[in-house]
């Protein structure tokens, strides 16, 4: 590999080192002591973080995008070629820092959390494998290598969801995640085929500069490609209609939920949309679809989150909902806001999951919030860190979530298509978010401890080997990541304080070279501009800063958050009997929401059952057994039949041979003498 500048960042080492960790732990981890397994896994995550930090420090002196490629091409055909190429730009460095930084903290936490589990080495091998693929995904310079990482994280996710493979529900959840993601990947693959057909390349740089060279391209096949990419993104990022796998994915160990199903992998869809935003900018229909999907998902998942009683499932629906926010931001072409929320969400959602894991650890594997309560006294550190996470996700200043969510809402409000309606959905969802998060907070940490009675029957739900009766605080190896993430959840938003609130929006400016419309950093675009003498960027004039409105909007969203807090306080602290009473009154709606709108059942009836039916009767019985097996049996039967006929000639009876011999000789004689129409053979 060689870089295109004098500085060599050794990008290729960033994904490769976790892979080495995976090989070590996967191949010989079984024989190593747990301390060695942990050390290998931690080092294999710490070094990439150090490399990423090094890249960050040298960032100013790089010529961007910084590309490292293997000298020999990976695939070279007459139609297109693809390289093993890694690239680094502002977007990538943010993603790499999130993945390695949060990833390292979660690895550290896992050392404590998984300490008593079977298959310790297996868990860390999978985690490192995940890191390898995730880093490949964010670092790759073309769609194909990104797809390799994309599939790889799906594999790692499958392996980790099904980590407790002896539990049927976990194994099924893994399969569900894998299969639902296949549907999305189908869209991604088709998008790549279209890209090859129209651009002859899959390299980001080349595709985007070709688009920049052709300002007349608008909609059409670009919309098709963008929509297919959206299909892929909805699968990976758990958006409607492919979100169904994420709640079930909570069957995996909690650190996995934190790392893969909250902080990193599920944001790959957002990353993909932002990375290929040049395509989306020319496809307004696709952007509209993204915005509507995002808003619908955000609202829909939040309503389900309200009635969940499993602490991890609340967080799972909350993740879907927050990913919906990011989608909504992408749809409003506010890419930097989406990535900003991705960053803060990675902090506070990883924190919330890890804190939830700590709570589950404290109460010996119980996940039902109705069996918790009053844990504030037992687990003070977990309580305070989780409080930081809850405040952050509820969007209360000065926590991280406030700034990112506020930016998304402001951008959505400004966007020309459906802006106000989407904004309203967003604010209402912010209210719901705040409500269910404070509900979780109150149910878990306040009131009296309700658990401790039925441990024997519940202990298996998380396979924690503890048998202590009183809830206990987690060890410091678990609490340290919590504290660090809590700090990040507090200060993480300060990098992007919008101008309206007296900040400078450093984050947005940092990302601007990557995400501004019609990225002009490619020299072709510059040439094009120079030739025509006029700017090609569509005439969307930079909206004059409207600070009063923006301040009003953020005031409203904070109010929505406080309203959620108020209701949660009312329902779950001051008048705990109220939810049940209210629930009686709106029983139909409650039933609908409690059953998650019957989506799984509807999918089951509309898609899974017919597919199984067709697979069983048409494909298996008719085609596989009937045509293929039957065809084989038919051919062999024909041969056996013919053979048994012809076999009679070779009877072993000498006189029958002699008879045939004489008959043949006579026939030859007759033919030579009379010809029998065979004279032409002689001439």
């Amino acid at each position: 590999m060689n870089g295109n500048s004098s500085i060599d960042l050794h990008l290729w080492l960033i994904p490769l080192i976790p892979f080495v960790g995976f090989l070590l732990n996967g191949l010989i981890g079984r024989k190593l002591p747990r301390a060695a397994v942990s050390a290998i896994a931690l080092i294999a995550t710490a070094i990439p973080f150090a490399l990423a930090a090094n890249a960050w420090l040298q960032f100013k002196s790089l010529s961007l995008p910084y590309v490292e490629r293997l000298a020999t091409p990976w695939i070279a055909t007459s139609v297109f070629h693809a390289d093993f190429a890694l690239s680094l730009d502002q977007l990538t460095i943010i993603m790499v820092l999130i993945v390695t930084g949060v990833g390292f903290l979660i690895h550290l936490y896992s050392v404590g959390y998984m300490a008593h589990e079977e298959g310790f080495y297996r868990f860390f091998a999978y985690l490192n494998l995940f890191m390898f693929f995730m880093l490949t995904l964010v670092l790759s310079e073309n769609f194909l290598l990104l797809f390799v990482g994309w599939e790889g994280v799906g594999l790692a996710s499958y392996l980790l969801i099904g980590f407790y493979y002896q539990k049927d529900s976990a194994a099924n959840a893994g399969k569900k995640a894998f299969i639902v993601n296949r549907i999305g990947d189908f869209g991604f693959l088709l998008a790549m085929f279209l890209l090859i057909q129209h651009f002859g390349t899959l390299s980001f740089n080349e595709v985007f500069s070709q688009i920049a060279q052709h300002p007349e391209w608008h909609g059409g096949f670009l919309t098709a490609i963008a929509l297919l990419l959206v299909v892929g993104a909805t699968g990976k990022s758990a958006q409607i209609p492919l979100y169904v796998w994420l709640p079930d994915a909570m069957e995996g160990p909690t650190p996995v939920s934190a790392l893969i199903h909250a902080a990193t992998m599920v944001t790959a869809g957002i990353y993909l949309v932002v990375r290929s935003h040049v395509l989306f900018d020319r496809a307004p229909i696709a952007l509209g679809v993204v915005a509507v999907i995002g808003a619908a998902t955000a609202f829909f998942a939040a309503t389900i989150g309200i009635v969940q009683t499993d602490i991890k499932r609340v967080l799972a629906y909350s993740t879907i909902s927050q990913l919906g926010y990011m989608f909504m931001a992408c749809g409003a072409a506010a890419y930097s806001a989406a990535i900003f929320h991705l960053l803060t969400h990675a902090f506070f959602k990883a924190l919330l999951f890890l804190a939830a894991g700590s709570v589950i650890h404290a109460v010996s594997g119980e996940q039902d919030m109705r069996q918790m309560g009053g844990l504030r006294k037992f687990t003070p550190v977990t309580f305070w860190t989780m409080t930081a996470g809850v405040l952050a996700i509820a969007g209360l200043p000065p926590f991280a979530g406030f700034f990112s969510k506020d930016e998304i809402l402001a951008e959505v409000y400004r966007s020309p298509y459906l802006g106000h309606a989407l904004w309203f959905v967003g604010v209402f969802t912010a209210f719901l978010t705040s409500f269910y998060m404070f509900r979780l907070w109150y149910m878990t940490f306040f009131g009296a401890y309700r658990g401790g009675k039925a441990h024997a029957s519940h202990g298996s739900s998380h396979d924690h080997g503890h048998s202590s009766h009183a809830p206990h605080e987690s060890p410091w190896v678990m609490l340290t990541p919590l504290v660090l993430l809590a700090v990040l959840s507090l200060v993480g938003g300060w990098v992007g304080v919008p101008a309206a609130l007296g900040g400078h929006d450093e984050f947005g400016r940092f990302l601007e070279p990557v995400v501004k419309e019609q990225s002009l950093s490619y020299e072709q675009a510059n040439v094009d501009l120079a030739r025509n003498g006029t700017a090609q960027t569509p005439a969307v004039p930079e909206a004059a800063p409207d600070y009063p409105t923006e301040r009003l909007l953020s005031g409203l969203s904070v109010f929505a958050g406080l309203l959620g807090l108020f209701f949660a306080d009312l329902f779950y602290r001051r008048k705990p009997e109220l939810p049940a009473k209210l629930g009686e009154k709106i029983r139909t709606i409650r039933g609908l929401v409690e059953h998650k709108y019957w989506v799984d059942e509807v999918y089951g009836a509309l898609i899974v059952k017919p597919v199984l039916f067709i697979s069983k009767y048409a494909l298996w019985i008719l085609f596989d057994r009937g045509l293929i097996d039957g065809g084989g049996a038919g051919i062999s039967g024909l041969n056996i039949g013919l053979g048994s006929l012809v076999r009679r000639i070779q009877s072993g009876n000498i006189r029958s041979y002699a008879g045939w011999l004489a008959f043949g000789a006579a026939a030859l004689l007759l033919i030579t003498y009379f010809g029998l129409g065979t004279h032409f053979l002689i001439h």
Binding site: I654, A658, A662
Partner: protein, 101 residues
């Protein structure tokens, strides 16, 4: 007096046909064997007749070759027949339809 060649050929054909008929009809292996010898000698007669007719010696040399091969064949064939008789206690060809002893 010169015997016309046709006589020889007719005699030869009669002998050959008898050989073929016996080969097909008879069941005793020894008889079958003898009918083969008869067919060979019918052919030998033709060779000799033509050699005499055309004053060419090659036909007679062929006959020597045939006789040599026939002698060798008789030696091998009789040995096989003895072996068959020892294991099967029969010389009926219809009973000898397995390819092994």
């Amino acid at each position: 007096m010169v015997v016309p060649i046709a006589y020889y050929l007719i005699l030869s054909a009669i002998l050959f046909t008898i050989g073929v008929a016996a080969f097909l009809i008879k069941r005793n292996i020894i008889t079958v064997f003898m009918s083969i010898e008869l067919m060979l000698n019918a052919v030998n007669l033709t060779f000799v007749a033509f050699a005499h007719q055309w004053h060419q010696v090659s036909g007679q040399i062929f006959v020597f070759f045939v006789m040599v091969v026939a002698a060798a064949e008789a030696a091998v064939g009789l040995a096989i027949i003895i072996a068959i008789f020892r294991t099967r206690n029969t010389l009926d060809v219809d009973q000898v339809d397995l390819m092994k002893l």
